[in-house]
Symmetry: C2
Subunit: 809 residues, 2 copies
């Protein structure tokens, strides 16, 4: 048991650690060489181009401006400067609402902390049971401030129970306000958006196959019949995993070609060469540029064949389609209604943003989805409760005595004392760490197997799984001794009233542990987050060894989005800790408050300067955040009930029974009141926005907006292929222009294009806005595909890479 001084020392160490991280961050971020690590968002937005150059070559790498070293904490006020609406337009609603979780934490726990410190701590201290016990036995100073200090059967428990009521009502009140606020932010955000293809489009799954007719024909007929006034067009979804693999390979080759051509330009005297064999390690030495051109040509031919196969073969059309309507109203109606007599056919849903789609899962049939869900649910359950079994098995391999017995010839190696101590002291912990490091990735794979079709949903589902894991293994695992599996076994053999009692009793005893946890994982962990140590190292390593072209540099810089699958569950764990301890051991609350304030600053800075979101879900994760905080309230109430029942407070405890019921009712009410705003699109809104559109502009170009929005990524990758094929024969240097930025900032390449314009009609479309030349009338689905391919070809270079990032196949 830690004393107050121990906690103080621990706090000091962690604060110093956090400051060390912050100092390191302050020093590193002003070095020009790190600029792309700490401000990638601005590079991506195009508002920051290259590091300041005042001090020559050295100045490009190290910051020689002494003045900037003295203002090293100025990122904090800077992070606070941007207003919420600016953040929304700068980084999207998801990020802005994510930051609101932290302010919600401050708003909830601020008043609660004050009330608890002023009211509960004096009550607890005056209890005085524990002062009479021997100091070194079970008592810590923290315990004297907690509910443990109250004598059994005391009437003071009435105060704790009433505070639990007051706090619960306060939390619910804040949650209600926040839910309403976020819901209206979401609706305003959706209402303020310009015309976007997802507003007009519905994803249709499980299209039934009629004999002798193609899926496309089916879709066309069905929607023309059942939505005659609103149906506009549709796009088929192809099962093109093989093609995608080839396209990825081609991209790699293209990159090598770029690299070699750049090299050749810089040293025109020496043509680069490589060996013909595997990875260029052996075989005949050939000219690199020629080699890659030849390889690309070969691959292009294969790609063309594959493309034709996909387009012709009706088996490669998956029974899904993106169906577009001529109004938001039409799309909203189709997304919310049941289409067919058989409710598992013609499943309609809002289409996710084009960049949000996870294409691979679009083809999964309904029945398979049910099976997948079952299998994954069982797997998650097993993972949460039995994950220690395989880990213990691997760890047991580090038991060298056993190994020696199995393989006696290893004796000399095993007896080597360094290896022995390494194996037995370090490996077991390492195995666990490695598992925990890969856990989010494992959970993400599970979510993908579950068959969700949007990246945003995948991340939310992964976050949910991670939360269960944390709840059982971090929260319950720390309170109740033993592995999760042992806990499960114990729970099965305990009565319904015994479980909260057993856990509740150990709750106050674990307060010091969780305070340390908050300081290590919360304070120091967040300071570590702002330093981006891993990204910094990886960026410089990549820069040193792999970055060959501009495109590679962009790729190395890519900061990724906010890591919801990890950030949300750990955030929710802090809410859980705060809510469980608010009545039991209120001294824990200030630590949580510091965490929320500090993390708010850090994440605000990161959102503004670093993260680039892959998709925009318009705060679709909020219902989960809300539900988890409600769940925390319920857990807190049950555990307090259990704790009090061991304190023999029989006259006061029954008062608590009503609280979980009220909390659940509140949750149900909130669910009805706000959740539809996150799941459905009200017709009133759709109609309003349609009317606005009709008033402001003609909808001539609606079809063109929709024509290629949900184009399958194979066409996007193919457009590159086709074009390059044409170009390569004329001017090999042109290839560098495949970087999308070459359009916005006129480069020598771009000038080159303009000169070529008379001879190369492809270039024509690159300079013109890509959406003007579409006046195609849809006659038959086959024609439409041809049209899509052609128009896609014409659009080469237009926002290609930024789209490409979104597609995962």
């Amino acid at each position: 048991m830690a004393t107050l001084e121990d906690i103080g020392v621990s706090a000091l160490i962690n604060i110093l650690g956090a400051f060390a991280f912050l100092l390191a961050f302050a020093l590193l971020r002003i070095q020009p060489i790190n600029d792309r690590v700490y401000y990638p968002k601005w590079y991506i937005l195009g508002k920051r181009t290259s590091p300041r150059n005042r001090f020559g070559v050295v100045g490009k790498i190290v910051n020689l401006d002494i003045k900037t070293y003295f203002t090293f904490l100025n990122w904090m006020p800077e992070a606070l400067k941007m207003s919420e609406s600016e953040i929304i337009s700068h980084a999207g609603l998801d990020s802005a609402v994510f930051l609101r979780i932290y302010t919600l934490g401050l708003k909830i726990f601020g008043p609660i902390t004050i009330a608890a410190l002023l009211l509960l701590i004096p009550v607890n201290v005056s209890g005085g049971t524990l002062f009479s016990l021997r100091r070194d036995l079970v008592v810590s100073d923290i315990d004297k401030l907690s509910i443990s200090n109250i004598r059994p059967k005391s009437y003071k428990f009435f105060i704790h129970i009433s505070m639990e009521y007051v706090f619960t009502f306060w939390v619910c009140y804040m949650l209600y306000n926040e839910y309403g606020r976020v819901a209206s932010m979401r609706l305003n955000f959706l209402a303020s958006q310009g015309r976007k293809p997802e507003q007009f489009t519905v994803l249709v799954r499980n299209v039934p196959g009629a004999s002798g007719r193609s899926i496309s024909d089916n879709v066309e007929t069905f929607f023309q019949k059942n939505h005659p006034d609103h149906y506009l067009c549709h796009q088929a979804v192809y099962n093109a995993n093989k093609f995608a693999k080839m396209a990825r390979m081609r991209k790699r080759l293209q990159n090598w070609l770029d690299y070699n051509q750049l090299k050749f330009e810089r040293h025109p005297d020496k043509r680069p060469t490589r060996k013909r064999g595997f990875c260029g390690l052996w075989g005949e030495r050939v000219d690199s540029i020629d080699f890659y051109k030849e390889q690309i040509k070969y691959l292009d031919r294969k790609l063309t064949l594959e493309r034709q196969k996909i387009l012709k073969d009706s088996n490669s059309v998956t029974p899904s389609a993106f169906v577009s309507f001529n109004s938001r109203w039409g799309a909203a109606v189709c997304a919310q209604t049941q289409q067919s007599k058989n409710p598992i056919l013609w499943l309609t849903n809002w289409a996710p943003e084009p960049r949000d789609i996870y294409w691979k899962n679009l083809a999964i049939p309904f029945f398979s989805l049910s099976v997948r869900k079952l299998v994954i649910s069982i797997s998650v359950f097993a993972l949460v409760f039995f994950y220690m079994i395989p880990i213990a098995f691997v760890q047991s391999l580090a038991n060298l005595e056993g190994l020696e017995r199995v393989a006696p010839f290893l004796r000399p190696v095993v007896e080597w004392s360094f290896l022995k101590s390494f194996m037995q002291g370090f490996v077991p912990g390492l195995v666990l760490k490695v598992f925990l490091y890969f856990l989010p990735a494992i959970l993400m794979v599970m979510s993908k197997i579950e068959g969700h079709v949007a990246l945003s949903v995948l991340e939310r589902r992964t976050a949910a799984k991670y939360y269960y894991f944390m709840l059982v293994n971090v929260f319950l695992g720390s309170i109740v001794a033993g592995t999760a599996f042992q806990q499960l076994d114990a729970f099965l053999h305990q009565s319904a009233t015994q479980i909260p009692r057993n856990i509740g009793v150990s709750i106050p005893m674990k307060a010091t542990f969780f305070i340390t946890y908050i300081m290590v994982d919360g304070w120091a962990g967040i300071a570590c987050e702002i330093l981006r140590l891993k990204d910094l190292v990886i960026f410089h390593l990549e820069n040193m060894f792999f970055v060959k072209t501009e495109r590679d540099l962009d790729k190395a810089m890519d900061p990724g989005g906010l890591d919801y699958p990890e950030a949300l569950p750990s955030l929710q764990l802090y809410f859980l800790l705060g809510i469980v301890y608010m009545v039991v051991t209120p001294i824990l609350l200030p630590f949580i408050l510091v965490f929320f304030a500090f993390a708010y600053l850090v994440y605000r800075h990161q959102v503004i300067n670093v993260y680039e979101q892959q998709y925009e879900s318009a705060a679709a994760f909020w219902p989960h955040v809300h539900a988890r905080i409600i769940a925390s309230l319920l857990i807190s109430q049950l555990l307090l009930l259990g704790l009090l029942s061991t304190k023999k407070a029989a006259n006061s405890t029954p008062l608590l029974v009503a609280l979980p019921i009220l909390t659940l009712t509140f949750h149900k009410y909130c669910k009805n009141r706000f959740e539809p705003a996150f799941r459905r699109y009200p017709l009133e809104e759709a109609m309003n926005k349609d009317a606005q559109d009709r008033a402001s502009e003609s909808d001539v170009n609606l079809k063109s907006l929709l024509a290629d929005a949900y184009l399958h990524p194979i066409f996007r990758s193919f457009e590159g292929v086709d074009l390059v094929e044409v170009k390569v024969e004329k001017n090999p240097d042109d290839v560098a222009s495949s970087s999308p930025r070459s359009l916005s900032s006129p480069s020598p390449d771009q000038d080159h294009h303009l000169e070529d314009e008379t001879t190369d009609n492809v270039q024509h479309y690159e300079v013109e806005p890509p959406h003007i030349t579409y006046h195609y009338e849809f006659e038959s689905p086959n024609n439409m595909y041809r049209y899509n391919v052609e128009s896609a070809n014409n659009m080469y270079g237009y926002d290609f890479q930024s789209h490409y990032h979104g597609y995962q196949y």
Copy 2:
């Protein structure tokens, strides 16, 4: 413990009892005087008019035709004659699908019984544990046929477990087929229906009040804006409970007037008189006809004032409305989509059939609904688990010693031995019986408080509550000793694995009890059902004392519908018993089979000859039936798991764990696959039916169909008032024509009308089909109301009473 012989004797008694009931039924039903009790359905359909008259006045009362006495069981083959499609058109889909539950029981338990008797009984008998025990200790002959007879740790449990698997798959297979069949029957039924107002109408609730504008204006504006192509018209809902009360009183007076006028017609020499005071008991003697006319006139004036108040006062318009669309597609879209940004405003749902609406609940606001649901959920929980507390309290009043102590002056009365034995021997049982008798009514009141707006939903919710009561108090209560409250207490203090174990162990021991239960409640109870003893007695009593007019006779005859709130739960209890015992004590199965077969016959007869459904929900109860059978499977699996774990069959028991998971998955799949057919209306179907309509007939008269379909019942009752007011001044006798049957079968009244036609323009509309003269264009909601009132007035007599029955206010 009952021996096989005991069971045999009990079976014999019950079979004899059932035969006695059947014999009584056979004798009673062929008496002409009982004709209206046993064949009311045919009277209501108008296919049977009056008892056969061959033997004069006596023949009107007693059947003197000897031949018919010899064919007294011929109702059984007769009941089977009608085909299912005939039953659907004769009695509606609800009744037809209700009968399918019995055939489903036969289909499920038929093969299971054969397999269990052939396979499990020999296995159980060969177990032989119990033969070695002393006979009179715990063993009954039934137990020797049950799983109790198997030695612990025996490998024979593998057979039981595999049979549980096989039976579960069989039940699921049958359930899947049946769900699919019922779903398609429902869709076909809906598709084959003619034009009905509910197909075009949506019930909108929680219409927000805008300041300075009426609810009607709001509805008009909102739907014209958001459903511009589909909106047709709407009807406001009035809060008219006071008016309804007055209308009921007027109806009573009208009835007395009819009675007196009939009396006067029969004896024209003597004008009937009555006293002026309360209930005609004292006061001045006056002419009855004049008195009632005067009273009615007075009430009419009050009604007129009240009507004007309701129509003018915007406070009496509830924030609900029936919104009609010009196509089924438009209505389907509106019912399935979210209308407003605020998801608890403008709640849309399919309108129930007009006769299915429970008007009183239409005005409940959303927030109040949440609170009501919470309160009722808690109340139901309390009722199920603590209902014994008030009953025990009342029973304790019968404890005369206590009474004596409290009130010593009662001693002489109390000491009277007859009263004493009556009080102590009979009253406690009577109190419980009275409670159980009123239980369905209490549960119905609870459902009404919950705020459902359709009678069909009310009945389904009541059935659900009744099922919980039966499950806890009949099933669990019989197995585990003690009251439900004691069980609850025990459950809370037992571990999750201990509960099924404790219940599982006592399952086989209770088999004999349940066999007796099936025979008493199932066999004899069903035979009692066909006798309709209560209805018979009540009909004759009413006929003797209260029936004054033709309308009264119809009312006395009114058979009511199938009693779903009681019939469904007890049916589901039999499924539960069969499924729980199919592996444990298979000898129980033949008794269940007999029950299903016999009950099928009886209910088929009743459906064809007796019941008149109040509404048609198109088998909306099926998902509940399905879910309860699945729940029975789960209960059976858990209990078997508990039972086997006490048998130390550690090597086989874990095999069972997968079964509940598989069953739940199956349930989820079925829910997705079939339930939408019961909740939503697919657009494909709506579009098809719209297209058919458009092809076959013009939709000129759609507006007239909708114009008064959802007219609030106050207008319907008022139309009567208005008309009578006009008529009474001309011809008092006309009043009798307010019986709806007077239109279909030309009566003297009707002839009278036709003579009057030239002088009384009201009559004109009665003879013409009522829907031809509507060409009104909706200009403003106020006009519309006036229109409705007028048109309603014109339609007086048209199907008035049959509509009226459906409205409960």
